[in-house]
């Protein structure tokens, strides 16, 4: 009867002195794969503006229809997103937008922490995408 108890104690002691499987989140963060698909961000061009040329391919490819884009044209005919919005609550993080983007402007970064108080805060806008964290 005492044998099982001792077996249990042995396991307890073994685990007690070995490296823990859990980490102390959020103080500690887990390393992620370089191919991790987390929150989106915008790459910038030389002027520090978004590199997006507003082609709309991400809109076309997005399987959950969560990207809204309003295309604007500059005087010289180049284009930029007047409005760009990703509803991250509908996003399935498939990364198709990143694949479709011909200028590598929209990317999925390593950031997986998104908690907000209201649903509206989950809308990623042009501004928030520009200031978003790139790697987790």
């Amino acid at each position: 009867m005492i044998i099982p108890l001792l077996k249990g104690l042995k396991l307890t002691l073994k685990v007690f002195f070995s490296k823990p499987a859990t980490i102390r989140y959020p103080e500690e963060k887990r390393a992620i794969s370089p191919r991790w698909r987390g929150m989106h961000y915008f790459e910038k061009n030389d002027q520090g503006e978004t590199a997006c040329v507003a082609c709309g391919l991400c809109v076309a490819v997005c399987p959950s229809h969560c990207i809204t884009l309003e295309i604007k044209e500059r005087e010289d005919g180049t284009r930029y997103p007047g409005k760009y919005e990703i509803d991250s609550l509908r996003c399935v993080f498939c990364g198709f937008c990143q694949e479709a983007c011909p200028v590598n402007a929209i990317k999925l970064g390593g950031d997986y922490e998104f908690v907000h108080y209201t649903r509206d805060d989950f809308k990623l806008t042009k501004e928030s995408l520009l200031s978003a964290k790139r790697i987790g």
Partner: protein, 799 residues
């Protein structure tokens, strides 16, 4: 009929068809790129190559006529490789900027490259961009994207009859450029045929690509030709462009500048958002409910007191809205409904009804006419597409044009005879033409049996059959000869004719004498989108000024109409001040809103559901492209309810009731149109007074009803304002006599006042006549005359 074999299939086709046409008729596919159904074959891309037995080199099927016994091969490895090579050459200097190109996703070059398995470009060449301005600011030319197919300048010539652009330069320098900037009418025909994104519209600040957009078909809200167009809408609210891709009659994918670029007022910032009341000179925003209650109470109270109510409804409102307005009017005592449709369309329709001429006609009949008479109308301004049809008749069927207009008009340059009577002298011209037809016995013999023939014969015989005073006798003889010799004649008349009752009668008598409408066509220009609808739906229609001047009418409700656009503003203001209650329902700020007790917002055409009746009687659907309520319709419907009448579940329910009332019928093809009982043809009696010309000049307003909602109180359409402006034009002879040159400021004086404006000297205008083109200065120009007229007498002096 000839027989040939295409890909082993025996096909039969008419002589004169090309191999491509023969193949298409029989469902055989040949790739094409520069070929466009609406244009004559261009033959620049060479993708339509086919092998024909007996010829050692492949031929371009779009330009090669099919011959009896031809044996044609359309698909083979060899042909496929040749096509690939031609595509490689086309792609040599085409940039791969598809992600930034408007055409991406619906580009013929993308499609055909994909079809021919082109994965990379093999050749590379210098790309030059001269950055030259296109003739119209509404279109941007992307030189590097242009593949020089030639469609655009062919369309400019063949469809629009202009010569604004052409290919210039050689080799890598070749490009499309403006060769005659002033010839461009911004019709956008070039834009609509460009197979790639080398021409894009510049109007909408927001762009949307095909997969982001919804495309909704609707009817053009501007003139009454009834063009079918498609609105490209982003997120159910912003119209980002107008496209034409369905090849529907009557316009078959062509549009004029207003149809293609006159949509931006829908998204104008100035749109009236909420109802308001004018209280002590202050605008006070009120709720919908308050506005409705106030309007209903005011109307009820005045009606109960036995006072009259007037309604002025826009001829650009839908049938459904006009019907509701007439229901509301019917529920009140002593009410009258007026509309600006009464000025031209109303008069033409009344004369047609009186003389038994059917107002329904088929535009395609123009193609069967040998002589086309265009009187008192500039088809560039309204019904531009009729001008295209006339040009087609001239180009393809050898028709000749007779213009009768004191002013220059867009068809004058290809007219065989341009007679220039003074305003009011049209009756004399038509009577002289009729008189001569009678004298020579060259009228339609059917006319003899018609009522009034003896009377008309007698009165015409009493008049001269020679050219009226001031008209070149040789030209008159030429015009007469063209008319007399023609089997079928088409008569197109504008507000220059309806402005004068005698002229209208003389024109219609002349038409009947020549055997129209059986042997040809007689048609009024249709000014506003639903003018015929308004005329058909409103019984006993009044002219707007009748209601304004009538002291028994104590309240007036303006539905999408602004009388300041077409009447003397001072007069309108004074008459409105005397009214006890004025309400306005419209989409954008207008002048009449200053005099209104309550203003409620309405919906623009893209937000409405309903229908228009276009000039030839056909019913055009107005479809909802932008989300949101149909504010005007809903207000009228609720008002009906407040007045204790039946309300309707939707616009469709109103259409159904209009249908039940017997106003509509189905034509042979199942399309709906106005139902008209055929009357008995008869002649009208009418004298022909000689116009007195006391004033030094006759000023003709060219297009009073043209720009509603584009430029009312402010300019609400950037598209329209970039290519239009107000103008006063004078003939070179008068200018010389008065020592004027273009740009000089002159003072115009008429019975009610004077105004100063710059003048432009223009060829083609008759001496003694001024042409006034109104865009946004309606108020200034109309205030000098006390009466509403197409033509007013003025004196002119240099400022």
């Amino acid at each position: 009929m000839i027989r040939l074999t295409i890909d082993g299939k025996e096909v039969v086709t008419e002589e004169g068809r090309t191999i491509l046409e023969a193949a298409r008729e029989n469902g055989i596919y040949i790739p094409t790129f520069c070929f466009h159904e609406k244009l004559l074959p261009i033959g620049s891309c060479r993708l339509c190559l086919v092998d024909v037995d007996g010829y050692d080199k492949p031929m371009t099927s779009c330009t090669t006529p099919a011959l009896d016994g031809n044996n044609v091969t359309t698909q083979s490895d060899h042909l496929f490789r040749m096509r690939q090579q031609f595509l490689q050459l086309i792609l040599t200097s085409h940039p791969l900027d598809c992600p930034q190109c408007d055409k991406g996703g619906e580009c013929q070059l993308q499609n055909i490259s994909y079809e021919h398995k082109i994965e990379k470009t093999e050749y590379e060449a210098v790309r030059i961009d001269h950055k030259e301005a296109y003739p119209t600011p509404l279109i941007h030319y992307w030189e590097s994207r242009c593949v020089l197919c030639g469609r655009c300048f062919h369309a400019c010539r063949e469809i629009s009859g202009r010569e604004a652009i052409d290919i210039v330069g050689n080799g890598f320098e070749s490009r499309i450029a403006a060769v005659n900037k002033d010839d461009c009418i911004s019709c956008g025909e070039c834009l609509s045929v460009c197979p790639v994104g080398a021409l894009t519209e510049t109007l909408s600040p927001v762009k949307s690509r095909i997969w982001q957009s919804e495309r909704i078909d609707t009817t053009c809200p501007h003139c009454g030709f009834g063009c079918q167009l498609t609105l490209n809408v982003l997120d159910g609210k912003t119209i980002t462009k107008v496209v034409t891709e369905k090849n529907l009659p009557p316009n078959n994918d062509s549009l004029c500048v207003r149809g293609r670029f006159g949509y931006d007022f829908v998204n104008a910032e100035e749109r009236i958002g909420a109802p308001y009341r004018n209280l002590d000179g202050q605008k006070k925003t009120v709720s919908n409910e308050d506005a409705l209650a106030f309007t209903a109470e005011s109307l009820k109270k005045l009606s109960a007191a036995g006072k009259g109510t007037g309604f002025v409804v826009s001829p650009r409102a839908t049938n459904e809205e006009i019907y509701l307005v007439s229901r509301i009017a019917a529920s009140l005592n002593n009410s009258r409904v007026a509309s600006a449709a009464s000025y031209h369309t109303g008069k033409a329709a009344a004369a047609f009804a009186q003389m038994g001429i059917s107002p329904l006609y088929d535009y395609e009949k123009i193609q069967t006419c040998q002589t086309i008479v265009v009187a008192g109308a500039d088809l560039l301004i309204n019904n531009h597409l009729v001008a295209n049809k006339v040009r087609e008749a001239v180009k393809l069927h050898g028709a000749r044009i007779v213009s009768i207009d004191p002013l220059d008009n867009s068809l004058a340059r290809i007219s065989s005879a341009h007679l220039q009577p003074l305003p009011g002298q049209d009756a004399a011209v038509f009577n002289a033409l009729s008189g001569r037809l009678l004298k020579d016995g060259r009228y339609s013999k059917d006319a003899e049996t018609l009522e009034g023939f003896a009377g008309i014969k007698q009165s015409l015989e009493a008049l001269s059959a020679e050219a009226p005073v001031g008209i070149d006798a040789a030209l008159f003889d030429k015009a007469y000869k063209l008319i007399a010799d023609a089997e079928n004649v088409c008569v197109i008349f504008g507000s220059g004719i309806t402005g004068n009752e005698e002229g209208l009668k003389a024109l219609l008598n002349f038409s009947i004498l020549k055997g129209l409408p059986q042997k040809g066509l007689v048609m009024p220009v249709a000014l506003q989108a639903n003018a015929l609808g308004a005329v058909s739906l409103i019984e006993n229609m009044a002219a707007t000024e009748e209601l304004l001047e009538n002291a028994d009418i104590a309240s007036i409700f303006f539905y999408e109409d602004d009388p300041f656009q077409y009447l003397n503003g001072g007069m309108v203001k004074t008459s409105l001040a005397a009214k006890e209650f004025v309400a306005v329902c419209d989409i954008l700020p207008t002048f009449v809103m200053d005099s209104a007790g309550v203003v409620v917002p309405s919906a623009a055409f893209a937000e409405k559901e309903g229908s228009f009746i276009s000039g030839n009687g056909s019913l055009g659907a107005v479809n909802k492209a932008c989300k949101g309520p149909s504010a005007g319709f809903d207000f009228l419907n609720a008002l009906l309810g407040r007045l204790g009448k039946k309300t309707y579940a939707s616009a469709a329910a109103v259409t159904e009731e209009i249908r039940l009332s017997g106003l509509l019928e189905k034509d042979g093809n199942g399309a709906e149109r106005l139902a008209v009982k055929a009357g008995k043809l008869s002649f009208a009696t009418g004298g022909a007074s000689v116009p007195e010309n006391a004033d030094a000049f006759q000023l003709i307003f060219r297009d009073i009803f043209k720009n509603h909602h584009l430029a009312d109180r402010g300019i609400y359409s950037k598209g329209a304002s970039s290519v239009q402006s107000d103008a006063l034009r004078i003939s070179p002879v008068d200018a010389r006599e008065l020592g004027l040159s273009s740009g000089d400021v002159v003072v115009l004086t008429a019975d009610a006042g004077e105004t100063a404006c710059p003048v432009v000297v223009k060829n083609g205008i008759r001496k003694g006549v001024l042409e006034c083109v109104l865009f946004s200065k309606h108020n200034e120009m109309l205030s000098i005359s006390s009466r509403m007229a197409k033509t007013i007498g003025v004196t002119l002096r240099k400022a």
